[in-house]
């Protein structure tokens, strides 16, 4: 896969730009092709599997909410593209199916679930966003802009989730899908370590 991406990017760089910048341009094209390939194939996998499960609409709502927040807030990363692809497709397909299945059972608690989810998303964004990879170093001004953009994303989805759209959607899949997408992305923003650091166990009580 990587040699073919490098081959395409070198060919594009030699065809479009000055020869002295060809190496740098080829790196940029290779980066963009990897980004495009990962997102496009992951979305295609999510659409295919959720369509097979009959929960396509719900899954797309969850993906749209989570992806739009991740764009500005960032989040955890996996070590390689394959495990990332499998996790992305698996988690979003599973969540879409679960929300679709349990939407009827949510009943009168939909508003409560939505409100709690939105508060959690807003709290994590304000306290921890943005989270990014080591090779991206943003200036403090840019970090503030990303945080404010992430807050705006949560507020935008909140207005849609809390709008009186019950007449259009029979089940409350829209507010529950939006809440699920924002909450799952919020969990990946939180700076939680799964293994406690050495020598700090129980230090809060001392």
């Amino acid at each position: 896969m990587t040699p073919s991406i490098q081959s395409i990017s070198r060919r594009l760089a030699s065809a479009t730009r000055h020869p002295d910048r060809a190496d740098q341009d080829a790196e940029i094209f290779a980066y963009a092709i990897k980004v495009l390939a990962l997102n496009a194939t992951a979305l295609a996998g999510i659409i295919m599997f959720s369509w097979l499960l009959g929960s396509l609409h719900t899954t797309v709502i969850i993906w749209a909410a989570a992806f739009s927040l991740r764009l500005f807030a960032g989040g955890r990363h996996q070590s390689g593209p394959v495990i990332c692809w499998v996790l992305t497709v698996g988690v979003f397909t599973m969540l879409g199916f679960l929300v679709n299945t349990f939407a009827r059972a949510a009943g009168e608690y939909v508003l409560l679930i939505t409100a709690l989810g939105l508060v959690l998303a807003l709290f994590t964004v304000v306290s921890s966003a943005p989270v990014t990879i080591p090779s991206k170093q943003f200036a403090p001004t840019k970090m503030r802009q990303l945080k404010m953009a992430a807050v705006a994303v949560v507020v935008f989805w909140a207005t849609i989730a809390l709008a009186p759209l019950h007449g259009i959607f029979e089940q409350p899949v829209l507010p529950l899908g939006i809440t699920t997408g924002l909450v799952i992305q919020s969990l990946f923003i939180l700076p939680v370590k799964f293994l406690p650091p050495t020598g700090h166990i129980g230090s809060r009580n001392t």
Binding site: A30, Y31, R70
Partner: protein, 39 residues
């Protein structure tokens, strides 16, 4: 025609690279290293 397609593809890829490098995270749960030329 071929030249126009190459320029169109290259422009689209440059736009994707710029948005990706400017965002906190444009990719789901894995992100390639940002090229030195874009830092």
């Amino acid at each position: 025609m071929k030249k126009a397609l190459i320029v169109l593809l290259a422009t689209s890829l440059l736009l994707i690279a710029q948005i990706s490098a400017a965002s906190a995270c444009f990719v789901q749960w894995y992100e390639p290293e940002v090229p030195e030329a874009m830092k």
